[in-house]
Each structure stands twice: as C-alpha cells, then as structure tokens.
C-alpha cells in the first residue's frame, strides 16, 4: 500500500519541499504546456540541420547506391554496420531500465524509464535506417521477409543469423513501442484533462479514452509487468542475435563464442552512457532536478562501471583466447588489432571503454554532474570505436595479402553517421515538447514512501532511529537539489 514507509536508510528518489501530487503534474508538464525556451530551440535547430544532412546523405545513397560509401572489395561492411550496432546497443538501456529494473523492483527507474524508452525507440529507428540503406536496393527490403513470391516460392534462409536479425529487430522495435505507448496512456490522459480546445482533442485521441478506473489500473499494472517479463529476455536475445551476425561467420576475430555476452554487456554500457548524456542535460534545461536526482545519476554511473568492467574482461579474454587457441590466423587478427595500422582505433576503444569508466570508483567523480556527462560522452565514443575495431580491423587484412587495404569513409558515410545523431536528437527534442518526459503516475507512487519530504517528516516525528536519521541526512550531502536543507539540519 502507498502508506508503507520505506527504510530511512534509503536515499530519496524525489527531493524538494512541498511536493504534492499536483505539483508533480505541474513540474513535469512545464515543457509540454508552455512555449519552448531558447535552449530547446537552439538544440532543435542544430539537430534538425543534422537530420537534414541525414535525409540528404541517405537519399544520395538510395539514388546512387552504396558505391558512394568508402567500402571496397575487402572491407564490405564498415561504418554502416558499425553505426547499426552502435545504435541498437544504445537502444538497449531503455528496455533495460523499463523492464529489468521493474522486475527487480528498483523504484529509481520510475523517473527515468519514460525518456529512456523514448531513446530506445529513436535509437532503433536510426539503427533500422542503416540496415535499410546498406541493402543497396532498399526498395526490395521485403525480400528479407518470408513472403510468398513468384520464384517458387523461394523462401528466406532461416538458418542465417541475418534473417534472425530481421525478426529480432522488428520484434524489438514494435514491442518497445507498445510498452512505451501503453505506459504513456495515463500521462497523456492527464494532459488531456488539463488542456482545452484543439490540444484537448489531439490528446484525447492519443489517450485512447483512458479514465483511470480501478480495473484499468489493475490490468495496466499486470500488462506492464508481463511486458517487462517478456522484454527482458527479448533485449538479451536481440543483441545476442546481432552478435551472431558476426560470431557465426568464419572470419578470424569474429568467430568467437564470447560475442553474445560481450555484446550484451557492451550494449547496456553504451545505452546507460547515452541515457546519462541525455538526462543530465534534460534535467537541467527542463528543471527536473527534483525528480532525476543525484541518486539516479550515481546509480547509472555504478552500472556503467560494472558493465564497463565486464566489457574490459571480455576484451582481455578475447586476446587470451586468441593466443591460447594456437591458431595463427586468429592470433594475427588480434595482433593486428592491437598493433596493426588501426592500433589507434583499438587503443581509443580500450581507453574510453575500460580505463576511463574506472574513474567512477571515486565518489567525487561519479557524483559530479559535469564529469559524469563528460565520461558518458567518452563511453559513447569508445563504444563506437569498439564496433569499428571489430568490423573493420577484422576485415581489412583478409587471407590474401595482395588484397589488404585500409578503409577510408566517404563524405556520404560521414553524412549518414552525423546525420543519424541529428535525427536522434531531433526526435528526442520533439518528444520532450509533446509528451511528458517523466512518467508522472509512477513518480506519484513514490511521493509518500521515497521522497525526501516523507523521510524528513519521519525524522521530525522522531519515529526513526537517531543514528539512521543522521546517516540519511549525511547521504543528502551529495544531492545538488537539497543542499540548503542539509545546512539547516546540521544546525539542529
């Protein structure tokens, strides 16, 4: 029940004084119900220019074909699949936050799940666009589906991981969309009931007629739980299958059994970094400091250290197994990664993914907003290089030394990549304007149990142990949204 108090030792998930249910609604709907501020417009214009570049470069590819990319006879996959895997990986944190953390009853997910799920959807859109454009003849994309046709019917080859990937990515995208939208319904209804005129009509259509009755909520909770239950193995399966695009081939450097767990850990790692990149800016620009607190930031940083370390162990295991296998091709592939012509890419990857996240062991660093943001960008860069290293350095020196080459991206490659980032941010900024970026109904659930206000009340009523209360007050020191109050309590 909502009146159950949680342990005073737990850090608050909602801060601020005089937080009421209506204040939560007011605070979260500020960006939706008002004209956007200057920061939003600047961000939007820059991103929209990027999205324009994306449209231009992708159209160019469609018109002239993938010969316009920097690919050559030896390196047949490069920035396209690098970009695809990078974006899919980023998408995974959204599902992880909304599904896995729900199953584990981690209440801190409540205020970040909405924007993380939105991020998932936009990232998968970027990833899917890479898949479509790398097909060469994108208007024949339906050939990847098992549709009856005039050739026999000639079916797709279900033994191929690329076909599995078609199913995995499309299932992932559509199930994430359904999960996200179902969760949005109660919040859209809130906007609807506060709006008038045309806005009301639009949000009324979008709200599906939600009314918040007992039965609606009861089923809603069960639906969310089951969707979380099926999404958790789904998200693991998707990146496992992405890794099998490589692992089931016979290319040295790709043909390894460690790929599935290694890719999944990397996906969570890069996804949390992207959530951090987005939310640290969002909370500042949209004044969400009371809802996305230092506890959230610190928790995400802890996940980044954990997954970053798993990725680090995977890199070292790969090297060890290459040596231990005794296969000279395998050994050469890894020697070439570390010290060949692409050594710089390997070492950028190592530094950004394995070494720099270890800085989060220091509490000062993981509770610093500026440093967290900076390191999250570093992780994003590192994870892009990881995919580049896996793909390009494994391909560029194949079995025949006469065909050894380097890969040089063309302007179209660069345009699609930068453009896809622009597209992603354009969609995200539009999302912030039209839909609530924080799940209001779920944050309201936390008010009576996990807010600073509720805990301060317990302390004031002296119903909690003095030592525990002191511990709690001390834990507030790191919060940037409650600093003046700590000073006040120290006086007492």
């Amino acid at each position: 029940m909502s009146s159950h108090h949680e342990s005073i030792l737990r850090e608050p998930l909602v801060t601020g004084e005089n937080i009421t249910y209506s204040k939560v609604t007011e605070d979260i709907l500020v960006p939706v119900e008002n004209k956007p501020n200057k920061a939003w417009w600047i961000g939007f214009i820059v991103s929209a220019m990027g999205a324009g570049l994306w449209v231009f470069s992708v159209s160019w590819t469609f018109w002239f074909g993938i010969g316009e990319w920097g690919l050559n006879k030896t390196v047949g996959w490069a920035w396209d699949i690098t970009g695809f895997v990078w974006w899919v990986g980023i998408g995974h944190a959204g599902t992880l936050i909304s599904a896995v953390l729900l199953l584990f009853r981690q209440n801190w997910r409540n205020s970040i799940n909405r924007s993380a799920e939105a991020m998932t959807i936009f990232a998968v859109i970027c990833a899917a666009s890479y898949i479509i454009s790398h097909m060469g003849r994108p208007w024949l994309f339906h050939w990847a589906l098992p549709l009856p046709n005039q050739y026999g019917s000639l079916w797709v080859n279900f033994n191929s991981p690329l076909v599995w990937d078609v199913f995995a990515i499309s299932t992932y995208f559509s199930v994430s969309l359904v999960f996200w939208y179902t969760g949005l319904l109660p919040d859209i209804a809130t906007i609807r009931d506060r709006a008038i005129g045309t806005r009301r009509r639009i949000y009324s259509i979008l709200s599906f007629g939600w009314n918040g009755s007992v039965k609606t909520w009861q089923r809603f909770e069960l639906v969310s739980l089951i969707l979380a239950g099926v999404s958790t193995p789904l998200v693991l399966s998707v990146h496992t299958i992405v890794s099998m695009d490589f692992a089931t081939s016979v290319i040295p450097g790709w043909h390894t059994t460690i790929f599935p767990p290694y890719f999944v850990a990397g996906a969570i790692f890069s996804g949390f970094a992207m959530v951090q990149t987005l939310l640290l800016v969002t909370r500042k620009v949209m004044n969400f400091e009371n809802y996305i607190t230092m506890f959230h930031i610190e928790s995400m940083n802890k996940i980044i250290i954990l997954t970053g370390s798993i990725v680090g162990v995977a890199y070292l295991t790969e090297l060890f197994i290459a040596w231990y296998s005794g296969v000279e091709y395998e050994q050469y592939a890894f020697l070439n990664r570390v010290s060949g012509p692409y050594w710089w890419a390997y070492w950028i990857m190592m530094t950004c993914n394995v070494i720099s996240p270890q800085l989060f062991w220091f509490k000062k660093i993981r509770t610093s907003i500026a440093l967290s943001w900076l390191l999250s960008i570093v992780v994003n860069i590192g994870m892009w290089f990881e995919r580049f290293v896996i793909i390009v350095t494994s391909l560029h020196r194949d079995y025949l030394p006469s065909s050894w080459v380097m890969f040089y991206p063309s302007w179209v490659d660069v345009g699609i990549f930068i453009g896809s980032i622009g597209l992603f941010f354009t969609l995200f900024l539009l999302f912030l304007r039209v839909l609530p970026a924080i799940a209001m109904a779920e944050v309201k659930l936390l008010l009576k149990s996990s807010s600073d206000q509720a805990k301060q009340k317990l302390i004031a009523e002296q119903v909690v142990d003095k030592g525990q209360a002191d511990y709690y007050i001390e834990s507030l020191e790191k919060y940037d949204s409650v600093s003046p109050k700590v000073a006040e309590y120290e006086k007492v």
């Binding site: 199913f167 039965k215 399966s237 109904a441």
Partner: protein, 178 residues
C-alpha cells in the same frame, strides 16, 4: 426525486481514500468505481475485484507465436523447398529457436496489449469517459451511484468524515463529453 446521478468523493491522499472506502462499505454504501491518477495497491481486494486473467491471455498468445514460428519454418525449409546445405538435416531445430523465441514474444506482447485495449475499451479517438477532470491529476475520486444508494446527505457526511476534501453531486455521468 433528484436528478443526481453520481456522488463523487474527492480525496487528496490515497490513504484517506482507502479509509473512505472502508467507511462507505461499513455503512452499506456500494462503490461504483474509483478513479485515480496512479495505481492504488490493495484496492482491488477492498472492492472485491477479481485477479486479472491477462497473464493467461499472454501465455496463450505466446504459445500461438511459438507454434506459428515452428510450423512456418518447418513448412518453408523442410516441406516446401528443402535445400541441401552441406548434407546437413533440413530440420535444423537449433537454428529455428531464435525466430521461435522472437515470435513468441511478439505474439504475447501484441495479443496481450490488444486484449487489454479491447476489454477496457481503449482505442484511439474513443471519447474519454471521465467523471472528474482532476482524477487524472491530483484527486482520488470515489464514485457512488446515486440511484442505487439512497440518503445522499448521509453519504456526504461519511465521505467528509473520512477526509474527503470535496464532495460533488453530478447530474451527468461523464463530464468529459464535448
């Protein structure tokens, strides 16, 4: 005979709401429905609402997905157009597992959410049947059918005593129709 159709008790706090429901039930006043901005845990038991069967629905749809996948792949790869791939068996079951899994999830998710929307009458463009506009914001609203429960003044008193911040007598069932 008054034209009052529904009596709405507004509570500002979920615990007061639960207390209010208890009080109403003690006085044999039946609760029509409760509208809240967030899920209230434990309210189903109080109102005698049965466990949802959507879990079973999801399982059924999921199983349909699994069977669809295995039959589709077997038909295409084993019966309709078998191919000799290095002399390996056509019925390569391990290779079928990933898509069987994906379709299980796809069918379970869409089937369950579709059923949920269907049974709760949720659909794009459906007129919202809302009794009070603040029920999606900050009020926890108990609705009492005024025709079925006499002594409206007494109901008002019960609600107010239980901590209701506002009691409304509505002559229309839904306020949200244009």
């Amino acid at each position: 005979m008054s034209n009052i159709k529904y009596i709405l008790g507004h509570f500002a706090d979920p615990d007061d709401l639960m207390h209010g429901i208890d009080k109403l039930q003690e006085n044999n006043v039946s609760v029509y429905d409760v509208y809240t901005p967030m899920p209230i845990h434990g309210i189903e038991d109080k109102l005698g609402i049965k466990r949802s069967r959507l879990g079973k629905v999801a399982f059924g749809f999921g199983l349909t997905g699994t069977i669809t996948a295995i039959s589709m792949i077997t038909y295409m790869l084993v019966i309709d157009w078998p191919m000799n791939i290095g002399g390996k068996p056509n019925f390569a079951f391990p290779d079928f597992v990933p898509i069987m899994f994906e379709l299980t999830v796809l069918f379970a998710a869409f089937g369950m959410v579709g059923t949920y929307f269907f049974v709760n009458h949720l659909a794009p463009g459906r007129a919202p049947r809302v009794m009070d506009l603040r029920a999606t914001n900050d009020r926890f609203v108990v609705a009492i059918d005024a025709k079925a429960n006499p002594y409206h003044d007494k109901i008002d008193d019960i609600l107010k005593e239980a901590g209701a911040v506002e009691v409304k007598h509505n002559e229309r069932k839904y306020v949200s129709y244009e």
